[in-house]
Symmetry: C2
Subunit: 379 residues, 2 copies
Amino acid sequence: MQSSKRATTPQRIERSPGIKKIAEKLGISIGTVDRALHDRPGIHPDTKKRVMAAAAELGYRPNLAARFLKSGKGLTIAVCLPRAIAHFFDDVRMGVHRAAEAHGAMVELIDYSFSRFEEGEAAAVEEALKKRVNGIILVPGRPSHARPLIGKASRCNIPVVCIGSDADGTGRLVHVATDSFSSGALVGEFLGCLNRPLRRLAVFIGSRGTSDHSEKLRGIQDSVPRHIRLKTTWEVIEAHDNAREAQHLSEKLLDTSRGLHAVYVATANSLPVLQAMDRRSLLGRIPVITTDIYPELLPYLRSGKVLATVYQHPVSQGRIAFDALHRFLVTGVRPAERILLPPLLVMRSNLDILLERSRGWSRRSQGAQRSPESVCLKG
Amino acid sequence: MQSSKRATTPQRIERSPGIKKIAEKLGISIGTVDRALHDRPGIHPDTKKRVMAAAAELGYRPNLAARFLKSGKGLTIAVCLPRAIAHFFDDVRMGVHRAAEAHGAMVELIDYSFSRFEEGEAAAVEEALKKRVNGIILVPGRPSHARPLIGKASRCNIPVVCIGSDADGTGRLVHVATDSFSSGALVGEFLGCLNRPLRRLAVFIGSRGTSDHSEKLRGIQDSVPRHIRLKTTWEVIEAHDNAREAQHLSEKLLDTSRGLHAVYVATANSLPVLQAMDRRSLLGRIPVITTDIYPELLPYLRSGKVLATVYQHPVSQGRIAFDALHRFLVTGVRPAERILLPPLLVMRSNLDILLERSRGWSRRSQGAQRSPESVCLKG
DNA sequence: TTGAAAGCGATACCAC
DNA sequence: GTGGTATCGCTTTCAA
């Protein structure tokens, strides 16, 4: 009477094997299987080995829904980004958050923003490790500072995805970035199409020591000669991502050397250069290619004073980094060692349609609030 | 002895309210709450109203993990794509599958491929409706054929995402595409940068009746005059996405009219045009811009015989369509009415890095391996 | 070192 | 119409 046996309707849905099936197969309890699968203490090595073998044989994949349902906690991922170039890293952050939102409560992000002019990244990663996050997305502003911490994380089996700069050899999971060499080469190819003399070119970078910058330089220097017969003289200006320095150096360049045929600013630090050129009425006469998109650059693009800018897909970089990390955490599939995105040449014609989709810096808080309608920056 | 009361460790994890909380609040059972929330028969209207009110007040969101765990079935989404331009739609399909994979077993895709030269799309959608899928991703090859079915789906509360062509006014959820006007305008702007005469331009399209094609035409015709002083004569060739026709028409064009200054092929049907030009040694002398990327086009791009091609992000279109649909199904948030991607100018320098990431047609089966249930309508 | 069992939230039955 | 409850796969805790 008390136990009413009811005909258990045999569900025809074929489910993938779970820990129950493994336990059943081995004639042990699910608790033991769990201990084996999760490296928990208190299990006989032999038992563990048998469990792992059975799991592999059955093609066991943990049911994330059940795991989440029970534990009430999803994957926790630390997002360690510099505050530095706000418009860029805010877009990266937005990309990460948008991608994470697709998983609802099953993924939780923790933001750690830091100043790249301190040892912020190390502190951020350290903090994340203390919180025992499941994975880390990191933009190493100063790769050298971050290296030891990335190594530490990897040793703790906490995968680290690097965006922008790399830290190879540290055990990081993957490096996501736009291809710097292609960026430079693309600019060179574009300039080569212009049918103009290119005997004297100026390239503004931050520093030759930054591989992103030196690769862009290498790209354009490799590309231009393929399209231009005459030999080219290169003015390489290292402005160290500093606005005042960029202003000073560009004014000096413009005043001392005449006959510049094109300018390529390979970092986001282009505004001082443009202003200096504008004051000398050089814009519109000398072709200028910049990098990234930010509010102050828009009027230059719209008016044609800047021919094109190289867009580095900050939003996509964030999304791709998240997806690679998430996939690894969930399925164990390692992404490619390095994921490089193609640079995109943005001109007047495709500027607005681009802004409409990936406009992180024109809204206030992204990710949390979904703005009902699109805001247009006034240019 | 038999019932060992154990101190239920109070979990500190704050969970969002579930049906249990609603039931508790109203002093009814969870079964009743379930009936109310899912429009199931056999519930008093008043009770239902009270439940809905309580759910809204508590901010109830169904726990997808629990739902999936119990039902064993995830969301089912039909992917209805033409077999037509294989390299393009295979990439779209890949984008959809990649995005779906992120959700593991919680999302199941069913592929319906059809021939765009029959009423394949209607049959595909009809089939999907019969299977009671949760949502449909559709590329309407012949929008007019698809319209009634999209309307039917929408009336059944089955959201439909249109990729490429639109079917507005049918109740479809969202339209995902690259911006056709921008594509044309971008080509015009690029040609304008070349510092060459552009008095006589040829534009190859499929048909003026296809809005994608007419918009591209409008784009370039709007753009070129902004960069070129002299008036331009336009040769608009409608090749109806037919290789033989394109060959015939381009030979006729090239033989009768001399002094062409540039060629823009606004569809993927560019090979016959290129071959015709190549036979007359015109490539490399007349700037050519094409559309899309496919294996046979690569040598033309690599050799510089084609200056650039307009990439329409097939993979991204697939991903974005899936994400929008998934988000809607899960959270109820409607995407924007229309999602337009910026066209991307691909040249020699960024070609390889692009191929490396989105290379659907260079590999064999994509996604097929994942979905065992892959239905192919014959066309 | 292992077994047993209580739930997590939603579904789908059954019994009233 | 409504209440009750077994169940999904996993984690976690207690008992042995």
